[in-house]
C-alpha cells in the first residue's frame, strides 16, 4: 500500500498537461460507462411504478411523473406469479444447500495430496469441463431417472460446478495442516475435522460459492425449459419470459382478479425477478474477487 502511494506521488510529480487532460477524459468516460451499466435497469424500475399512459408516451425517464403501484398490485393478485416466486425461492434455497454440500464433500478429500486415485479423479473432473455429452443425452438421463417435472431436475444435473469444485479444493489445500493434525490427534475423524476445523476457516469462500450457486439456480432458464412441461411448476424465469414476450396479457392468463396494466406489468415482473439477485449482490461483491483469486493460487 505504501508502495502504491509512493508510486502515485511519483505519478503526480511527473504529471503533464496532456496527462491531466487524459485523466479528465477518463473520468468522464468511465462515469458514462458506469451509468450505461445501470440506466436500463433504472428505467425499468421507474417504469414499474409509472402509469400505462406515461410508459407509452414518454420515451425515457428515470423517475415517473405520476407514481403508482398498480402494476405490483396486479402481480400480487396473480396466483401464477406469486406461486412461481415462492417456488423459485424454495428451489433456490434447497438447491444451493444441496449443491454446496456435494461440492464441499468432494473438494475436501481431493485436497489431501496423498489420497489414492486423486489424480485420476481430478483429471476426469477437468475432462468434464472441456467435453460434455450435450443437451440431448443429459435430457435422456434426467428422463430415465424419472426427474422430469420434478424440482430436483433443476438442482441435480448441475449439482457440482467443476470450476467451483477445483477452486474450493485448492483453497482447502492451502489451509494450515497443523490445525487438522492436532484435531486428529485429539481423536476427531475426517467428518469432524471438516465440520469443526476446515469449514469454519473457509466461511467467506464458501459463502461466495453458495451465492454463485444460488444466482445460478435463480437465473436458470434452460433447465425448467427442458425438464418442466407442467406449467403449474414453472419457475419465475419461465413466467417472466411468458409475460414479457406476450403482446398483452389478460387477467385470465395471469389468474388474477384485477385486469393487468399491459405494459406496466412487464416492467414490474422484470424487477421482481431481479430484486433477489440485487439483494445478494453486495454480499457477492464483497467476496467474489477475493474468493476467485484465493482459490486459484496453486497450493
Amino acid at each position: 500500500m505504501t508502495l502504491l502511494k509512493k508510486a502515485q506521488s511519483t505519478h503526480k510529480r511527473f504529471n503533464t498537461r496532456a496527462g491531466r487532460a487524459f485523466d479528465v477524459l477518463n473520468i468522464v468516460l468511465l462515469t458514462g460507462v458506469g451509468l450505461l451499466a445501470i440506466l436500463p435497469f433504472v428505467y425499468v424500475l421507474a417504469g414499474s411504478f409509472a402509469t400505462e399512459l406515461e410508459i407509452t408516451t414518454r420515451p425515457f425517464f428515470v423517475w415517473p411523473n405520476e407514481f403508482t403501484t398498480a402494476s405490483y398490485e396486479s402481480i400480487l393478485s396473480s396466483d401464477v406469479i406469486v406461486r412461481a416466486f415462492a417456488t423459485t425461492v424454495a428451489v433456490t434455497f434447497v438447491g444451493t444447500a444441496v449443491q454446496l454440500a456435494l461440492t464441499v464433500l468432494m473438494a475436501y478429500p481431493l485436497a489431501k495430496p496423498d489420497l489414492p486415485g486423486r489424480r485420476t479423479i481430478l483429471s476426469l473432473v477437468v475432462f468434464t469441463m472441456v467435453f460434455s455429452a450435450g443437451m440431448i443425452p443429459t435430457f435422456l438421463v434426467v428422463k430415465d431417472l424419472g426427474l422430469l417435472d420434478s424440482y430436483w431436475s433443476l438442482i441435480l444435473p448441475m449439482a457440482i460446478n467443476p470450476f467451483s469444485l477445483i477452486i474450493i479444493k485448492n483453497f482447502f489445500q492451502q489451509l494450515p495442516h497443523e490445525l487438522e493434525e492436532s484435531a486428529k490427534i485429539d481423536g476427531a475423524n475426517e467428518l469432524q475435522v471438516l465440520r469443526h476445523v476446515v469449514i469454519p476457516l473457509s466461511k467467506p469462500v464458501l459463502a461466495t460459492f453458495a451465492l454463485f450457486y444460488a444466482v445460478g439456480i435463480w437465473n436458470d432458464y434452460l433447465s425448467p425449459l427442458l425438464y418442466l412441461s407442467d406449467t403449474s411448476k414453472w419457475t419465475l424465469q419461465m413466467i417472466l419470459r411468458q409475460v414479457t414476450a406476450a403482446a398483452s396479457l389478460s387477467a385470465d392468463e395471469l389468474n388474477s382478479d384485477v385486469p393487468p396494466p399491459a405494459q406496466g406489468i412487464k416492467f414490474a415482473v422484470v424487477i421482481i425477478a431481479t430484486i433477489p439477485v440485487l439483494l445478494a449482490y453486495p454480499f457477492l461483491q464483497k467476496h467474489f474477487a477475493k474468493g476467485m483469486l484465493i482459490g486459484s493460487v496453486k497450493g
Binding site: 511519483t10 505519478h11 511527473f14 496527462g19 487524459f22 485523466d23 473520468i27 468511465l30 460507462v33 458506469g34 451499466a37 436500463p40 435497469f41 428505467y43 408516451t57 420515451p59 456435494l102 461440492t103 464433500l105 468432494m106 475436501y108 478429500p109 495430496p113 489414492p116 489424480r119 481430478l122 476426469l124 477437468v126 468434464t128 472441456v130 467435453f131 460434455s132 455429452a133 450435450g134 440431448i136 443425452p137 443429459t138 438421463v141 449439482a159 457440482i160 469444485l165 475426517e190 437465473n219 436458470d220 432458464y221 434452460l222 425449459l225 424465469q237 417472466l240 414479457t244 414476450a245 405494459q263 422484470v270 425477478a273 439477485v277 440485487l278 449482490y281 486459484s296 493460487v297 496453486k298
Partner: protein, 323 residues
C-alpha cells in the same frame, strides 16, 4: 484462473509395480482413507450419473434411437446422422451464424473488456474507480431472461427508449426486435452490457500484481504515460489475454443457448439459429434424438480439438498454456 485447471503432477515412474506388496498397500489405503472416500461418494455419484452416463448415452448418435426400443434395442446406423447433418443445407448456415456471433464476441467484446480494464487501471480517483467497478459488475448477475426482457422493453415499438433513439439516429421505424438485420447488433449489445464489466476482474487482478517499482523506474527513465502502459501494463496482462483467448477459442461453438434462444423468433431464425438452438429444436421439439445428439457430439468434438489445438499453439509461442 491460469493455474486453477492444473492438476498436480507426480514425477514419472513414481508408480509402484503391481506386486503383492502393492495390493497390501491398497488394502491398507482403503481402510485408512475409508472416511474420505465415504465423503466423496455423493460427488462421485453425481459425476457418474450426470456427466459420464450421458457420454455413454451419447452413442445414440450412431443409432436410430427409438425410446420404446431403448438404447440397446435401437438399430445401429454408424455415421449416418453425422453425414446427414454435414450435407444438410442447415449446416453451413449454422456454422456461419455461430462463427459470426462468436467472432463479434472475440473481436469486439473481448478487446472492449481489455480497454475497460486498462482505463479503470489508469483511473486514480479511487472512489470513482470502486463505484464504477461496482456498477459494471451488476449486469453479469442478471439472467438472460431478464436481459432479453429489458431489451424488449427498451426496443418496444413506439415507446421504447432505444427504439426511439436508434430510430432518430438512423431514420428508421423498423421493428428491431424482429428484424434479421438487427439480430447480431442486439446480441452484441447485450453481450457487451452483461459481461464486459465482469470480464475486467481478471485483468485488474493481474494488474494489481504488477510491481509498482517498475513504474517508478520507468518514470525516472523519462517514460511517458503511454510508454508506461505500452511497455509495462500491457506486457503484464499478456499471459492472461493469451489464456482467455485459448479458452474463448475452445468455446467458439458454444454460443450460449439461453441468449440466442430467447432472442430468436420466427422472423429472424435464418440469422439466429446456432448449433445449440438447433440441437434443442431438432431434439426436444421435433424428437429427433439421435440426429440432435450427433449434432451436439460433432460440436463437442470440434470444441475439444480447438481447445487442445489453441493450447498447443500457445505453448509453442512460449506462453503458459492451461493444461
Amino acid at each position: 484462473m491460469t493455474t486453477a485447471l492444473e492438476v498436480d503432477r507426480e514425477p514419472p515412474g513414481a508408480r509402484t509395480p503391481r506386486t503383492p506388496a502393492r495390493r497390501r498397500r491398497f488394502r491398507a489405503d482403503a481402510v485408512r482413507y475409508r472416511w474420505l472416500f465415504f465423503l466423496m461418494l455423493p460427488g462421485i455419484l453425481y459425476f457418474v450419473l450426470f456427466r459420464f452416463w450421458p457420454m455413454y448415452g451419447a452413442r445414440i448418435a450412431f443409432k436410430n434411437y427409438i425410446p420404446f426400443l431403448g438404447i440397446e434395442g435401437s438399430e445401429w446406423v454408424g455415421l449416418t446422422h453425422f453425414q446427414e447433418f454435414l450435407s444438410n443445407p442447415d449446416f453451413p448456415r449454422l456454422l456461419q451464424n455461430t462463427l459470426i456471433v462468436a467472432g463479434l464476441s472475440l473481436f469486439i467484446a473481448f478487446p472492449l473488456t481489455i480497454v475497460l480494464a486498462l482505463l479503470l487501471n489508469e483511473l486514480r480517483l479511487n472512489i470513482l474507480k470502486r463505484t464504477v467497478q461496482t456498477l459494471v459488475y451488476i449486469p453479469h448477475f442478471l439472467s438472460w431472461t431478464v436481459v432479453v426482457s429489458i431489451t424488449a422493453l427498451l426496443f418496444a415499438i413506439g415507446n421504447g427508449p432505444l427504439w426511439t433513439f436508434f430510430g432518430w439516429l438512423l431514420g428508421t421505424d423498423a421493428n428491431m426486435l424482429a428484424d434479421p438485420d438487427w439480430f447480431r447488433p442486439l446480441i452484441l449489445m447485450q453481450e457487451v452490457w452483461k459481461n464486459t464489466g465482469w470480464g475486467t476482474i481478471i485483468f485488474l487482478a493481474a494488474l494489481a500484481g504488477v510491481d509498482q517499482e517498475q513504474y517508478e523506474a520507468a518514470v525516472i527513465d523519462g517514460a511517458g504515460r503511454w510508454q508506461r502502459v505500452w511497455h509495462i501494463t500491457i506486457p503484464s496482462i499478456l499471459p492472461t489475454i493469451v489464456v482467455l483467448l485459448i479458452l474463448q477459442t475452445g468455446q467458439i461453438l458454444n454460443t450460449g443457448f439461453e441468449q440466442i434462444y430467447l432472442m430468436s423468433n420466427s422472423l429472424n431464425r435464418t440469422v439466429a439459429d446456432v448449433f445449440d438452438t438447433y440441437v434443442y429444436f431438432a431434439g426436444i421439439e421435433q424428437g429427433a434424438y439421435s440426429y440432435a445428439t450427433a449434432v451436439g457430439l460433432f460440436k463437442a468434438i470440434v470444441g475439444l480439438v480447438l481447445i487442445f489445438g489453441t493450447n498447443w499453439l500457445a505453448k509453442r509461442f512460449n506462453q503458459q498454456g492451461i493444461f
